[in-house]
Symmetry: C2
Subunit: 151 residues, 2 copies
DNA sequence: TATTGTTATACTCTATAACTATA
DNA sequence: TATAGTTATAGAGTATAACAATA
């Protein structure tokens, strides 16, 4: 016999449903941590990639983030408004603009990533280090086949 | 030394970022599977709980789903419009309405859960049965402390 | 006073389509 | 023809605030 409260509820057996619920918990903690003034998770993700891989164009970045070019415009406007990056002309192609992090951007990235890791560790205290590693590995395993590097 | 392409990219080490990316992949597959006419994931989640725990009130259900009562109204309207449930007066409390699944609702639930499991298995073929079980267990472990049953 | 269901409203995130300037 | 960045627009999904009816 299966445990009534878990297995007989088929919804609870779906990965999608559990992914969503867990994602909402982590997302809410992120927002609570950084508040209104802080960067949203998607803005921070964009800044991270710009810092980690400078000189990407907006099209490159939108592909890496898995969103449309049009949706990226507001994100880049936000980061430029904060003084975290600049749109810089690309020598070979006058259509494109490279995204170059400023010193303030690099510093904000370093601060935010540290703070996020710290809060994530506190939030996910119910998981051991090994379990967090397992979870990360499993999530990446899902992602990889869908992010075959085109760029 | 750490592997350059993984560990040096701090963003990739965040559980929140990986949760989001994996969630989007599964969510997109769900939508592609059921299309425009089909129930959205949140509508299906609501129907699932109504079928699995009949006679819940809307307030009960909104707590179980982790959303506001106001947001549930459109979801219940949708399900009632499809003929999958009815709002039924509760004998003891004239403010509340119990959510009772119809036969069509029960049948739609059974069909949809089966189809979802099937598509999830196909989508997540890169994970072994054991890994899928691990992932499910880890995600639930995150959820549990935040869903201390109040109702 | 508190709760239930509801409406009105606003905000975030995202997608599609169309435009311009380049290639 | 195709691509880069942009704008306009629309649609989910969600939250907050207020309300009437009832507890």
């Amino acid at each position: 016999m299966e445990k009534l409260d878990e297995v007989s509820f088929a919804l609870e057996g779906l990965i999608g449903y559990n992914l969503k619920r867990a994602y909402v918990i982590v997302q809410n903690d992120y927002r609570a941590t950084f508040g209104e003034e802080g960067m949203s998770a998607r803005v921070f993700a964009a800044l991270s990639i710009v810092v980690e891989m400078p000189e990407l164009t907006q099209s490159d970045l939108s592909r890496r983030l898995g969103i449309e070019r049009s949706g990226l415009v507001a994100i880049i406007d936000n980061l430029e408004g904060r003084g975290y990056l600049r749109r810089v002309a690309v020598p070979g192609d006058r259509r494109a603009q490279a995204l170059v992090p400023t010193d303030a951007g690099k510093s904000a990235y370093a601060d935010t990533i540290a703070k996020t890791k710290e809060h994530e560790a506190k939030l996910l205290h119910m998981l051991s280090d090994e379990e967090r590693g397992q979870l990360l590995a499993l999530l990446k395993k899902i992602r990889v086949p869908f992010e075959s590097r085109k760029s």
